[in-house]
């Protein structure tokens, strides 16, 4: 997928050395990296190559460069926007259909895991997002961002470390869904979100799984009508 080692430019090689350094020193999101002078010495590299390497790492969202302050480990290091490259799948109808198929495989079980593992903090957040989405929908305002946050909060409650990195990617389809269903799902969205949130709050794994399944069924029905 990537260039083979011998095709790599000097800044690419140095960027990989910096990744090794981050891992060895166990730097965490938000931690500051050593300054340029220190890095040049440690990596035995020139200033301009290190600067180029940092730009590459910033474009992969591994570090965040703050002008005048320094370079920091990014919040979710290594996760770029659209990491699976859905932008470049040109048949959007097929993409929406297939993303929904994958959501069916993942999200009911994730809701069940969330019901089993959510703590008080998680539950508060899920209920709050559910309230906010309901208000937005009733006022005919844009709820897409909050909708993705709702599904991400459920993913985080599963306590599986992979799931919160996967769900926002799969849920990148929500804007496409909303566009295709032309916002006709207001009532069903409110009710099925509420049922999912309450089931998780009650730690009822089966009810959470069924509620999420039903939520996806509503979506699929409406999408099939619109295609």
């Amino acid at each position: 997928m990537m260039n083979s080692p011998d095709e790599r430019s000097l800044p690419q090689k140095i960027s990989e050395d910096i990744i090794s350094l981050i891992l060895e020193e166990n730097l965490q999101p938000g931690d500051k990296l050593p300054n340029e002078t220190v890095l040049c010495e440690k990596l035995n590299a020139g200033r301009s190559s290190v600067r180029e390497a940092m730009k590459l790492l910033a474009s992969r969202n591994i570090v965040t460069i703050r002008q005048g302050s320094g370079t920091y480990i990014a919040k979710t290091p290594g996760m770029v926007e659209d990491p699976l490259g859905f932008t470049f799948i040109s048949n959007k109808k097929k993409l929406v259909h297939d993303l929904l198929e994958v959501r069916f495989l993942l999200e009911p079980s994730i809701a069940s895991m969330a019901a089993a593992n959510a703590d008080e903090e998680d539950i508060k957040k899920i209920i709050k997002l559910c309230d906010e989405i309901e208000d937005l929908l009733k006022n005919n305002e844009d709820h897409i961002q909050k909708d993705i946050e709702f599904h991400t909060a459920i993913a985080l409650s599963s306590k599986n470390v992979v799931v919160p990195r996967l769900v926002p990617v799969i849920n990148s389809s929500i804007p496409l869904f909303v566009e295709m269903t032309r916002n006709t799902l207001h009532k069903e969205t409110i009710e099925s979100h509420r049922e999912i949130a309450e089931a998780i709050a009650a730690h009822d794994t089966l009810r959470a799984q069924d509620a999420m399944y039903l939520h996806l069924v509503y979506n699929r029905k409406t999408i099939q009508k619109s295609i």
Copy 2:
């Protein structure tokens, strides 16, 4: 996840203009991009900014720069190595456990979809990979790359456009699995791969689903022993 628009550098902005251009002109993997002079004119930008922008796109694996030949759309545009940033999850035991949990959610259903949709070409490829892995295992040679290819070939046979982008990511855990199970799974790997391949070749969806489930169960048992 990404920098907000006002924090973006000029090359970043230009790189996004180039992405828009790629999408508008519906350029496909392997297609050549217009040369620098044409791009500078189209995007109303300077040569060095366009060059910087191209380096950013190359680091995100959207384009491939071939010295002396030109710039081309990458094979799987927008998919970088380790797109979900697993490198930066420091607890590897938890990562292996949670990746396996996600494989349980996805792969049995994907095997079933493959059994439903695989064409003659797909089946030939799956059987061939199955044979190759068997030979490697019997000779105690490294089978990891072929193992990932086997699961990717099944993902491609599902004919879902999202699944082949997801499965290699989830299967990035295979090297970790093999390390943790210390290669004790030879016989089970051979038998369960064979059963999966034959079920797909017979277009038997339930048998394929069960065979994949069993394959994952073997893996989980061995991993639990080793943790």
